[in-house]
């Protein structure tokens, strides 16, 4: 069972701006309600969170930036994610045999790529010219290759004994993570400060092809396809509508110049939190962070005002035809994590979903045996802006998605007519508290959670504080929030159905024999 505020992927709850540390003076949390996290802020605005844990000699690092796909421009969707891939390609000293010469070669690659993109994007592309430009790009890449030390950044970490070297981009944030034996602290500082201060986006167009494959992989997977369909249909104006990986057509036009511009705008120390959890000494971490990250330049960030999503006025029903077994995804517009109504909505999602005693399992999976699974989450795809209260489910054959949808909506309605009992609420709160204890077991998981809460929501203690807010929610609050938000004209529904083929109606298509 997940903490309630973590019920959807890639997310952290938001909150107040309390508990900020003052630049230059470390502060240690002493309230026993919280773990003894040491907070410290560099003069350039980089925030540090350190928690010492000593069972094994390892340490987990999370460098988290408040920049995600939501911050990209229309026409350049996917840029945040593509930059994240590029951040594994080295610096002026890592992956390079001679950067001054390599830079010249990289500029030729960029010139050739831009010419090719312009030709391919023209209204009447000249196919022969495009092929010529493609060859020219390949030639330029071959020249640049001669000055590359292949995969040096990755090989460094391989030899250091990394665990879980990775990065993730969501619509809200980009995070870079790795765990290492704890005596690699200084090595991490040296490599990563270089990575974020001096990245070189070499092999850009090949990595762009890798991302296209990542997108194709998603297009072959009905689960990912349903999410993309739901979110892009639910939002009409706010950039949450764009998939984090980007639209394929945008990806084919992204350039290294775009990615470098994006980097200069958002990859600044005052847009980042670094969490360090494990077998370390906090004053040594601070000393090394000052040494390696202290000269990283502060820069003003742009205002981030994006088109507000207008109120939804119509129920949106989408039939997604795909050769897979039927399923349902739905989303109701929520008021955002800064709105007090979010707490009763979080509780509502847990009343429906929490365990085998949750209402969905009891009534839809077990009672009527309509659903193979059914679950809810209060905020997807992000937390920085108003988002979606989502429900995911799939029918057991021979039941149809329409039958399942009706049953789900009846359960949602019951939140109003049969408010949750005190037992249901106490169970949820018990689970939340236990989860707050268990999350302390994993260094990497805790590090990610601390960094997200600090950087996106303004306080690493957010999960604990949200727990206090959830305790105040009364059964009537949940009924009222359900009546206000979980309504037909506030929802978008995606039905995944097998392609119609020669059958007349959807009902026949759902029977299992049709798919054997």
């Amino acid at each position: 069972m997940k903490k309630t505020t973590k019920s959807s992927p890639h997310k952290a709850p938001c909150g107040t701006g309390a508990g900020k540390s003052v630049p230059g003076s470390p502060s240690t949390e002493t309230d026993p309600k919280y773990p003894p996290v040491v907070s410290y802020t560099l003069k350039n605005g980089l925030k540090l969170l350190i928690l010492e844990k000593n069972f094994v000699p390892t340490v987990s690092f999370t460098m988290l930036f408040k920049v995600g796909n939501v911050d990209g421009q229309q026409g350049k969707t996917g840029l945040a994610h593509l930059f994240e891939h590029m951040a594994f390609k080295g610096t002026q000293t890592i992956n390079s045999a001679d950067y001054s010469r390599e830079k010249v070669a990289l500029d030729s690659v960029e010139e050739a790529a831009k010419e090719l993109i312009a030709e391919e994007s023209s209204e009447t592309p000249d196919l022969k010219r495009a092929q010529g430009l493609r060859n020219k790009l390949a030639e330029a890449e071959k020249e640049a290759d001669k000055l590359i030390v292949k995969d040096e950044y990755l090989k460094l970490y391989t030899a250091l004994g990394e665990n879980g070297l990775n990065a993730m981009t969501s619509t809200d944030y980009t995070g870079y993570v790795v765990s290492l034996p704890s005596n690699r602290l200084m090595a991490w500082m040296a490599i990563e400060s270089d990575r974020f201060k001096n990245p070189v986006l070499r092999e850009f167009y090949r990595e762009r092809s890798v991302v296209m494959e990542e997108r194709r992989m998603g297009e072959a997977d009905p689960g990912r396809l349903m999410w993309e369909t739901l979110i892009s249909n639910a939002f009409t104006a706010h950039p949450y509508r764009n998939p984090t990986i980007g639209w394929m057509d945008d990806i084919t036009r992204l350039t290294r110049t775009d990615a470098e511009e994006f980097y200069r705008t958002f990859y600044v120390p005052n847009n980042a939190t670094l969490s360090v959890v494990g077998d370390v000494n906090s004053s040594e971490v601070i000393k090394l962070a000052e040494k390696y990250f202290g000269d990283w330049k502060y820069r003003e960030l742009p205002a981030r005002t994006y088109t507000k999503e207008p109120p939804q006025r119509a129920e949106k029903l989408v039939n997604l035809f795909f050769k897979a077994q039927p399923a349902v995804r739905m989303g109701f517009k929520n008021p955002g994590m800064n709105h007090p109504d979010i707490y009763p909505l979080i509780m509502a999602s847990e009343v429906l979903t929490n365990g085998k005693t949750g209402r969905f399992y009891r009534n839809l999976v077990e009672g009527r045996q309509l659903a193979l699974y059914a679950a809810a989450g209060a905020s997807t795809p992000g937390n920085r802006y108003p988002s979606l209260f989502v429900i995911v489910s799939a029918p057991n054959a021979p039941h149809t998605v329409e039958e399942l949808d009706a049953a789900i909506m009846a359960e949602v309605k019951k939140l109003e007519t049969e408010p949750p009992t005190q037992w249901e609420l106490d169970k949820i709160l018990n689970n939340y508290q236990a989860e707050m204890i268990k999350q302390l077991e994993s260094n990497s998981g805790l590090g990610m959670s601390l960094a997200q809460n600090e950087q996106l929501m303004g306080d690493w203690r957010y999960d604990w504080k949200a727990g206090e807010e959830l305790k105040k929610v009364k059964p009537g609050d949940i009924s009222r929030a359900a009546a206000k938000y979980l309504t037909r004209d506030n929802r978008t529904v995606v039905f995944l159905k097998a392609p119609a083929g020669k059958k007349k109606d959807g009902l026949k298509n759902q029977s299992p024999q049709e798919h054997r």
Partner: protein, 456 residues
């Protein structure tokens, strides 16, 4: 363990500090055997008020009867869900969920497991449920029907994720659909399982002398925890466990290509070759070899197929050990229009390993990667003690874990080459592809005789 090889041999950029070796000796914990034969591993850890347990029950999906594939999985899943003689199913769910505790029972190919997590303050309540679930399950008919409905629905949905389907179906073709290493449950085999079958299955395998239990967390002393376990499990009688005879593996050492037509955005390629029996000492050089070939983003497959050629997001290789012959597997998801190109490169990388000795630096890096990240196998006391229990379960010597690093560190270019020559014969490897053949860059028939399969 401090080893010369544990400090990276890789040339670091000049600005980087000197790196020391990683010195970590995994703690032993305690091991005791109860009078009824149950083996118990314990590790006390008072940092958080939580207790974890996991039991290894010696069975697995491979022990199912051919006409009732799914018996082990249904039985394991229903131990808790079906209630016990003492507790009704809804009592179990209500109690555990209110206490934010969990008891989970499940099964893999070669092991059945039962897990417990509880806050320290609720341990007595939760442990009583856990013990009842293991010893006296009731298999309530309603719950049996529910679980069967779920299982049948999962069978209907097994091809929804084509990448996962490719690996499963490739193994099925490799070992044959009637061999336990390759088989899958079917509608008919799941429907054939009766409650009586489940009771008999439980009575045979779920015996204290057939169980290794690992316990870690916040308890006062080993004596106290052992006394608790004796109170719950001490009266559980031994049983003579009957195991079925698993037929020997038969692998056709001759190139075969299997294709499953599907119009989807990517093609999924799986290459399979004969692997090792468990406990074969070749596992050490093979582990290093796989690290070089397809173990991470800087491995040869990822470097060539992903980073240099941009053909894939996912490409990797690994080897699996089994009681009888295991397998080596390579996987790639690519644009249908680059299927043959990616496949050719994968085969070429296997061939290269058998032809040319790897540079010493590359072998050293792969070794360092394994040695220096060894400590991550034990991020928590529970995971450490579980690892120790699992090695006993899988029949390794007691010092296997403690000598692992030394054994890996012995691998060199010569042993990597010999192991590759011994195990990899890419010209005979089995190839399995799911994808839209109309879009392939070259027909699969160029790789060998093709058998067309239908998704089912």
């Amino acid at each position: 363990m401090s080893l010369p090889s544990a400090a990276p041999a890789f040339a670091l950029p000049p600005s980087l500090p000197e790196l020391a070796a990683v010195d970590f000796k995994p703690p032993k914990g305690e091991r005791v055997v109860l009078d009824n034969g149950m083996v118990v591993y314990l590790m006390r850890d008072n940092t958080l008020p939580v207790v974890h347990m996991t039991a290894y029950i010696r069975t697995g999906k491979l022990n199912d009867p051919l006409e009732k594939i799914g018996l082990g999985e249904l039985t394991a899943g229903l131990l808790k869900d079906g209630g016990t003689l003492k507790y009704r199913p809804d009592e179990i769910d209500k109690t555990l969920e209110f206490l934010a505790a969990s008891v989970d029972t499940h099964i893999g190919i070669e092991e059945a497991r039962a897990d417990l997590t509880s806050l320290k303050k609720d341990l007595d309540t939760v442990l009583d449920i856990y013990a009842e679930v293991l010893m006296r399950p009731a298999f309530s008919p309603d719950k049996v029907n529910l679980r069967r409905t779920e299982t049948l629905e999962m069978i209907r949905r097994r091809n929804d994720n084509p990448g996962r389907a490719a690996v499963r179906e490739a193994l099925r073709s490799f070992y044959g659909p009637a061999h336990p290493y390759g088989w899958r449950s079917e509608e008919a085999t799941v429907k054939a399982v009766t409650i009586e079958d489940m009771r008999a299955y439980h009575a045979n395998y779920y015996r204290p002398n057939n169980i290794i239990l690992a316990v870690a967390g916040d308890f006062a002393s080993y004596e106290e925890m052992i006394a608790k376990l004796k109170a719950k499990f001490g009266a559980w009688p031994r049983g003579k466990v009957k195991f079925p005879v698993i037929p020997p593996v038969q692998i056709r050492d001759k190139r075969q290509v299997f294709h499953m037509e599907k119009d989807i955005a990517q093609a999924y390629i799986v290459i399979l070759q004969k692997g090792l029996k468990r406990h074969d000492p070749l596992e050490y050089p093979l582990t290093v070899t796989n690290e070089i070939l397809g173990g991470g983003l800087s491995s040869r497959l990822a470097s060539e197929i992903r980073s240099r050629q941009g053909l894939a997001y996912t490409v990797y290789s690994y080897s699996a050990k089994k009681p009888d012959l295991g397998y080596s597997l390579a996987y790639c998801g690519t644009n249908p229009a680059t299927t043959a190109r990616a496949l050719t490169e994968m085969l070429r990388q296997y061939a290269l390993l058998t032809r040319e000795a790897c540079p010493a630096e590359e072998v050293a890096r792969a070794r360092d990667s394994i040695v220096n990240s060894f400590v991550f196998r034990f991020p928590t006391p529970f995971e450490l003690i579980t690892e120790r229990a699992s090695f006993e379960y899988y029949g390794y010597t007691a010092d296997y874990l403690d000598n692992y690093v030394e054994n890996i560190a012995r691998t060199d270019s010569k042993s990597v080459l010999e192991t590759s020559q011994n195990l990899f014969k890419p010209e005979d490897a089995m190839i399995f592809v799911i994808g839209n053949s109309k879009k392939f860059d070259k027909p699969l028939s160029g790789f060998g005789p093709v058998t067309e399969l239908k998704e089912d």
